[in-house]
């Protein structure tokens, strides 16, 4: 089996690297990168737009192009998060927590360099795991059912509650608010409407993207205005900026253990259908905070807060291909369109693809690998001009950020109401920041609340029907223990520090 995997991997690599095949993933990467900078078109929409254009193509170029499209958009969303506090994609929201404070300190170059290397390295680990998992893909996916998803999400929530800056009570209240917002809309199980106030807009719940854009981007612009700051970095000339991309790359090596662990978190989350990159990024961020002895710097420009979400975010792409290739289960919008494109060209994901067309599977994997590295290299090459944007005057930048936030909010679901929601949360976010209330627990609870509720219902119903034996589900037990450990760790550290007389 391993011989045939190795042969197929080599055959796939040969197909990607040969001329002119190599042009397709490169073209796909640059198209996705361009789109990531254009508000209004998401990576998934670009992929959907490409479907009619590629109808008459042979299957191989389509696979090569789509590999590039999947990988291209991932890293670029983080650049706007670092520079302007505007997450280009959902998963980039975790990067802004420390990436943007770094830009405010004039260290945008270091943050972008670190993000680029973490992304490329994370994707390499994700793809490495994907290749290693090829013979075990099906078992890996089947190991994650509703109980496992439930404990994974509870772990995410527990981690964020524990690591939030400031008062634990305030973090719990913010989390409660996030959960309340997550329950607005149709009950995912019974389809009954809850807290919708007779408006159809709320049927599908409170959107995560407008809330994040409001709480962070709009609130930050408002805050900078109130503080009278003239530029994001507080500097007006590029030569006043500090740090370099090399410093960012070096930081990844200095925190290599965290980088590897975050990449593995991203890969595992990616494998689970329907969980997504945003959860991966926040879980990795929470893990970084929780496993660090000195946590005071997090949220204030700690480079570890960039390494963890970026590595997890890109590592997730490799993992996310597992359910698509093994079962035809798309775990995200992007992989859903990828699957549609494959089906159109007679490539049917599932057992037959894994058994009979393994080289084609590796063509996708290598295209994705190439694409992830290309975006990071482009990010490194552009680090100087990009970092100069932090020296732009706020009266030029603020309208741009507001416009980006408004367009981003609208494009999310094509609802004009979401623009209003973003500005409402802009006001709420400003007040929370001003009065020292943590915003992350609110966002993470909104992100995970629906999934926790749904999987809790399914798990309890299946358990009630005698269909689950939780004691014999090792993945459930393992993640459950991790959750308990996450909750216990801060108390253990507290006790230890009180015994030794040192701060944790």
């Amino acid at each position: 089996m391993m011989d045939s995997v190795a042969q197929s991997a080599w055959e796939g690599f040969r197909l990607v690297a040969s001329w002119p095949n190599i042009l397709y993933p490169i073209a796909g990467t640059f198209m996705a990168m361009a789109v990531a900078f254009l508000p209004g078109i998401s990576g998934a929409t670009l992929m959907a737009l490409m479907i009619p254009l590629t109808l008459s193509w042979e299957p191989l170029p389509v696979v090569l192009l789509y590999g590039g499209l999947v990988g291209g958009a991932t890293f670029m969303g983080s650049i706007t998060a670092i520079l302007f506090n505007v997450p280009g994609t959902g998963p980039s929201a975790a990067t802004l927590l420390d990436g943007y404070p770094m830009a405010q300190q004039g260290r945008a170059r270091t943050a972008i360099g670190c993000a680029a290397i973490s992304s490329a390295g994370g994707s390499t680990i994700g793809i490495g795991v994907l290749i290693a998992l090829v013979p075990l893909m099906r078992q890996a996916i089947l190991a994650f059912g509703p109980p496992e998803l439930l404990v994974l999400m509870v772990w995410g929530l527990a981690t964020m509650a524990v690591v939030s800056r400031g008062s634990f009570t305030r973090a719990l209240i913010a989390m409660g608010l996030g959960l309340l917002l997550a329950f607005v809309g149709r009950d995912p199980r019974t389809a009954e409407l809850r807290f919708t106030f007779n408006t159809m807009y709320l049927w599908d719940g409170v959107g995560l993207v407008p809330v994040v854009l409001g709480l962070f981007s709009i609130a930050e612009v408002t805050n900078l205005g109130v503080a009278g700051r003239h530029t994001v970095s507080g500097r007006t000339r590029a030569d006043q900026l500090t740090g370099s991309a090399v410093d960012g790359a070096r930081a990844v090596l200095q925190h290599f253990g965290l980088f590897v662990r975050s990449s593995l978190i991203g890969t595992v989350v990616g494998i689970i259908p329907g969980v997504g990159g945003t959860v991966a990024s926040f879980l990795a961020y929470g893990h970084a905070v929780q496993t660090s002895r000195d946590r005071d710097g997090f949220g204030r420009g700690d480079i570890r807060g960039v390494i963890a979400p970026e590595a997890a975010h890109d590592a997730k792409d490799g993992g996310a291909l597992v359910p698509v290739l093994a079962f035809g289960i798309p775990g995200s919008e992007g992989t859903a369109v990828l699957m549609a494109a494959l089906l159109l060209h007679g490539i049917v994901p599932g057992r037959a693809l894994m058994n009979e067309q393994l080289p084609l599977v590796f063509v996708i994997i290598w295209s994705l690998f190439l694409s992830n590295w290309l975006t990071s290299i482009a990010g490194l090459l552009l680090v100087n001009p990009l970092s100069r944007l932090t020296t732009l005057r706020m009266d030029v930048l603020a309208p741009l950020i507001m416009a980006l936030a408004a367009i981003g909010a609208f494009v999310y679901r094509q609802r004009i109401e979401d623009v209003g929601l973003a500005f409402l949360f802009g006001g709420i976010g400003y007040l929370m920041k001003k009065h020292g209330w943590p915003r992350i627990p609110l966002v993470v609870a909104l992100l995970l609340g629906g999934g926790i509720e749904l999987n809790l219902h399914i798990t309890s119903q299946l358990h009630g029907l005698g269909r689950l034996d939780l004691w014999h589900r090792p993945v459930f037990m393992a993640i459950g223990l991790l959750t308990l450990a996450s909750l216990a760790l801060p108390f253990a550290q507290e006790i230890r520090s009180s015994l030794t007389g040192r701060r944790p």
């Binding site: 205005g225 798309p330 507001m402 367009i407 269909r467």
Partner: protein
């Protein structure tokens, strides 16, 4: 101090950006006067009521080049997901009937939502001009590949001892009606575990053995069936769903020799009632996914659009390009099917209502 100027400038820019984005939704005015000429050279807004990458979206995008060529118009696909397809359907129904706003709707779900009084659901018969039928969704019951339940007889035997457990997506969808009515016809007790995030996630639950069965459109789980991950045990139809080897020996629900009538006879229930209920179910499920325009389309324009769309859908190019077989019909035939389904659907409502009440309990 507060730089009011730049905050105001920001708000202004945001408003302008939002307004520009909103402008995309303004319907264009009708320029031409001849049928179909009214849309030739223009851009048609084609509304898809689910997200990019979904089944309807993919199908539309595959048909897009054929439709553009035949109509001589550009087609801009607009995804308006949400509320189980009701938001997209409402947007089509509310547009001006000028031929420049068309779209696709799933009639069985919309029909049941409207009959059940779901808020905001448009009247499926009166709110639209039905241009053509793209296809129909015929369901199968399937067990996991390694399940001991390998045939309908196995399922019925197990069902006589305990309730059969199904994984479903969400309550209110057409497949809940399909499961509940089929179970009623077979005299089975079922437990619906709802909330799985899509067809594939529910299918994985069956494959893992967390549930006994799933019930979905055959075409949406065809690959899983072909790969041996799912095993069909019942065709929820009166005739074979598709000429597919995996369905060769799979029981049919309807027809004189179907499982519904056999079970009715076995349990001393009225065969005529069973036949009537099965036919009502098939009428609703057979109403299909439709290409529609807002109601009130000019008769000449309707004929032209309807004929052109049907020509495209029935043509070999479109048939070859789609991932699932098109089961096309002209607008008039599709409308007749919808009217029949609308008349038959009330027979399903008590069973559907009961199933939904049990899940919500």
């Amino acid at each position: 101090m507060v730089s009011r100027r730049y905050v105001l400038a920001g708000l202004g820019a945001a408003a302008a950006a939002a307004a520009a984005a909103g402008l995309r939704h303004r319907p264009s005015s009708l320029r031409g006067t001849t049928p179909c000429g009214a849309v030739a050279g223009r851009s048609i807004r084609w509304i898809v009521p689910n997200a990019p990458g979904g089944g309807y979206d993919t199908e539309t995008r595959m048909l897009e080049p054929f439709l553009e060529r035949a109509l001589g118009a550009g087609i801009a696909v607009e995804n308006l997901p949400g509320a189980g397809g009701i938001i997209g359907a409402r947007a089509i129904a509310a547009a001006r009937p000028d031929g420049l706003t068309l779209g696709v709707i799933g009639m069985p779900g919309l029909l049941l939502a409207a009959l059940a009084g779901t808020a905001g659901a448009p009247d499926p018969v009166r709110a639209f001009s039905i241009l053509a039928r793209l296809g129909r969704s015929w369901h199968i019951w399937a067990t996991g590949g390694s399940s001991p339940l390998k045939t309908l007889d196995d399922v019925l035997r197990e069902g006589s001892r305990r309730a059969l457990v199904f994984a479903v997506n969400e309550i209110g969808s057409a497949n809940i009606a399909s499961i509940a009515v089929t179970a009623e016809l077979l005299g089975q007790r079922v437990e619906l575990v709802a909330g799985f995030g899509g067809t594939r996630a529910a299918s994985m639950a069956a494959l893992r053995g967390d549930v006994d069965l799933v019930c979905f459109d055959f075409e949406t789980i065809r690959e899983l069936v072909e790969g041996g991950d799912l095993r069909p045990v019942l065709q929820v139809s009166a005739a074979p769903i598709a000429p597919h080897p995996s369905l060769n020996r799979v029981a049919l629900l309807g027809g004189a020799d179907g499982a519904a009538e056999r079970q009715a006879a076995l349990h001393g229930r009225s065969i005529a009632d069973a036949r009537g209920l099965a036919e009502a179910l098939f009428a609703v499920m057979g109403s299909g996914r439709l290409a529609v325009a807002p109601a009130g389309l000019d008769a000449g324009l309707f004929d032209c659009l309807s004929n052109t769309l049907y020509g495209v859908l029935a043509g070999p190019g479109a048939q070859a390009a789609t991932t699932r077989p098109l089961d096309t019909a002209r607008g008039g035939e599709a409308l007749a099917d919808v009217r029949r389904a609308s008349a038959e659907a009330p027979a399903l409502l008590p069973i559907l209502g009961d199933a939904m009440r049990r899940v919500r309990r």
